[in-house]
Structure formats: C-alpha cells, structure tokens
Amino acid sequence: MKKLTLVIVGVLFAWPVMAGEVDETLDAASDGRVDISNIAGSVTVRGWSRDQVEVTGTLGRNVEKLIFERNNNKVTIKVKVPRKSGRGIDSDLHVNVPENSSIDVGAVSADIEVSDVLGEQSLQTVSGDVITAAAADVVAGSVSGDVEVSGDNSDIEAEASTVSGDVTLFRVSGEVSAESVTGDVVVDEGSFDRVDVGTVNGQVLFQSALRKDGKFSAETVNGAVDVEFVGAVSAKVDVDTINGRIRNCFGPDAERISKYGPGWTLNFTSGDGDGRVDISTVNGGINLCSK
C-alpha cells in the first residue's frame, strides 16, 4: 500500500507533464526571457504583474511531454512530440509571463497571439496567424498566415513578414520593415524615421507620418501603392511605375519615362529634401498624397 501510494504521488508530481490538461507555474525573473516552442495548435501569451510564468492549456494525446523549466533568467516551454509525429499533437498553450519579459515563440502549425508583454518579442510560425501588441522591438513572421502588430506609438523597431497573407501595422512608430509575397501591407496611424514595405502581389497602403530626415521605401511588383503622409513631408521624392499611373496631390505632375514606351516617373523635392521617399511598382498605380 505504501509502495502504491508512493507510485501515485510520484505520478502526480512527475516532471515533465504528460499529455492532457496542463496547469503549472514557475517563479521567474521580472524581466527575463521566456522561450516557447509548439509544433501545432496555438500559443497565447499574456503579460501580467506577477514574477511567475504560468502555463495552462491542453496537450495533444500524442505529445510526449511538456518541458517547463527555468534556468536563471530564462524560462523554457517546449511541447515535445515524437520525431515522426502525425496526428494528436495539437496543443493549445496559454502562457502568462512577467510583463517586462522578452519572449521568443516558435511554432509550425499554430497561431500566435500576444498581449500586454512589454519586452522584446520574436514570434515565428509557419502556418498560422501572428497577432501581437508590441511595446518594444518585435520580429513577427509567418509563412502562410497574416501578421498583425499593434502598438502604442512609442518608438520601436518592428519587422513583420509573411509569404502568403496580409501584414498590418497599427499605431506602430519608429522603424518598420513589412513584407509579403501574396498579400497586402498596411501601415496605419504611425510615425516613422524609417519605413521599408513591399509585396510582390498585393497592395501597399500607408497612412502615417514620415519624420524629418525620414526614409520611406515602398515597392510592389503587381499591385497598387497608396501613400498618404500625415503632415508635411520633407524629402527627395522618386516614384516610378512601369505599367500604371502616378497620381499625386503635392509636387509636380508625373511624366512619362519615355515618349515611346510605357512607364511614368515622378521626381521632385518636397520641403528641405532631407529625407527620402522611394516608391516603385512594376504593374500597378501609385497614389501619393500629403495631408
């Protein structure tokens, strides 16, 4: 009986956690790092005021184990699956982290959603959406899925990319790089020193401010570019399209690249010309305005 009791107690407190429901907590540094890895399912991360990392959720029936461990300032959460894993590995993780933590989330077939985390974020998935609210530098990427980054207009460096999907940045300020292959790139209500946005098949929509000495670049292959600078622009402006028209509400009119061939170009200096605005498409119209 004593042996049976010991076995039962051992199973109950055994690490790592086996497949099924999970509800575990570890003490953590208030501004440490949390690495999360989940092959399939979902990962939801929320910042909170406690100096603890809490993991709740469900593990797939064929998951080998959940690794949940701390090493000094770093907490690691990994869903371990068999090498030749097939079905039954979908795991939904809800992770609460100290709000000043930096996080690194990696997934393959999983959505990633983050809120109230004030530290740096690296969020990567292959198939799934990435949605985050960022208060510090963020790298967010998917291959097949949308990427959405919202901010509070504090200056950060944001890098958002996907292959198939839309990229949206809302109230992000500072420096931004956003790209897609098939999908739109939208940047709204921000204020920037540097903008580098582009897509192959899709539109670029930009409605934000470009600061003094700011550098702006927008490119598509097949798709329109619609840029509305909030406030005055002081920059050297170069706009080109091979097939498509250029419409601008400030500066001179666009001119044909060649009298006998396709293509339009618009080159002028706005204000003191201390910044740069470069916009180009191969097949697509360009709208440029400053309000």
Binding site: V108, S127, V200, V221
Partner: protein, 181 residues
C-alpha cells in the same frame, strides 16, 4: 555532420540581406555586372546564353524553358541552371549567388516535405509567384537593358526568392531543433 552542414547554411543565409539594401559582400559581382554600361553584343552563342526564361509547370518539380529571342531552338534547362542563363544581357549572377541559392534551395526542399500539404501547396504557389515576377521583369529588361528601375526590381525579385527559401527552411528547422531535447 548535420551540425556542420547547418552551420554552413546558417553562415550562407546570414550573408544574405533581406532588406532593400543588399549585403555588398554577397552582391558585388551582380551589382558590377548590372552597373556595367556595356551593351550586349549579340552573337548566336551569347544570344542563346541571354535567352529569355519562361516559367512553366505547376508542381514542385519546375521546368524552365529558355527561348532564344524570336527564333532558334527551345532549350529545357533544369532549375539549378536557371541563373546560369538568366535574364539580363549575357551576364550570369555569379558563382557566389548560385552557391548560396543552391544551398538554401536544398534546405528548403528538405523542410518542405515536413509541412502539411496545404501549407506546402501555399508555399510552392508563392515561390512560383516570385519566380514569375523574375521572369516578367527579365523579359522587360531584355527589351530595355539599360533601364535602371528594372535592374533594381530584378535584384529585388531575386532577393525575394532567397528570402522565401531561407525563411521557410529556417522557420521549420528552428522549431524542430528546439524540440529535439
């Protein structure tokens, strides 16, 4: 061996820039040939080497058909030879670029099979879009070889392809490695 190979790939991938300004260490040969004011002298041999590349095929085994101008034989080339006969004038993109691309493509192919079928189809469809863009820009550049905008766009399109190869291969590999405890 796997670690050595992965280190090599990482080193090669890290050398590749994914933003608009290319890493000069990787692109000097390309930039130099593009910036060259030389106008190609069209001989039959060079004309064949400077063939317009047309992308066909819908599966992961893509076949490229090189067409010599308005006339001449249709030559089928394997994907790995695409950049030997690419697109602007008689210039190729240089061994450094090709080595890096081949390494990334091999890693990409290995990782692609690990993806769910619908994701794999999605990735392949998008890579095809990038490659079609390369072809279309190349075709335009053939007609207007001194067009700087097209030259820049072509470089960008090649970088987009490398970016897709690296990101897909890297993402899957990194997450898988993190689960190998």
């Amino acid at each position: 061996m796997t670690d050595v190979r992965e280190d090599k790939l990482e080193t090669a991938a890290r050398r590749l820039a994914t933003d608009i300004s290319p890493d000069r260490d990787l692109w000097p040969g390309i930039a130099e040939t593009i910036a060259s004011p030389r106008r190609p002298r069209w001989t039959p041999m060079l004309a064949q080497a400077a063939a317009v590349v047309l992308l066909i095929g819908a599966s992961s085994a893509v076949t490229y058909v090189a067409v010599k101008g308005q006339e001449g034989p249709v030559v089928q080339v394997a994907p790995e030879l695409l950049f030997e006969q690419a697109s602007f004038g008689s210039h190729n993109l240089g061994p450094g670029f090709q080595d890096a691309r081949n390494m990334l493509a091999a890693e990409f192919d290995a990782e692609l099979v690990r993806l769910a079928p619908e994701v794999r189809d999605d990735v392949e469809a998008n890579l095809k879009i990038v490659r079609i863009a390369i072809v279309e820009i190349s075709q335009a550049l053939e007609e207007d070889p001194d067009n700087v905008l097209l030259q820049e766009r072509l470089l960008r399109a090649y970088r987009d392809e490398l970016s897709v190869l690296r990101r897909v291969g890297g993402l899957t590999r990194n997450v898988m490695m993190r689960n190998d405890i």
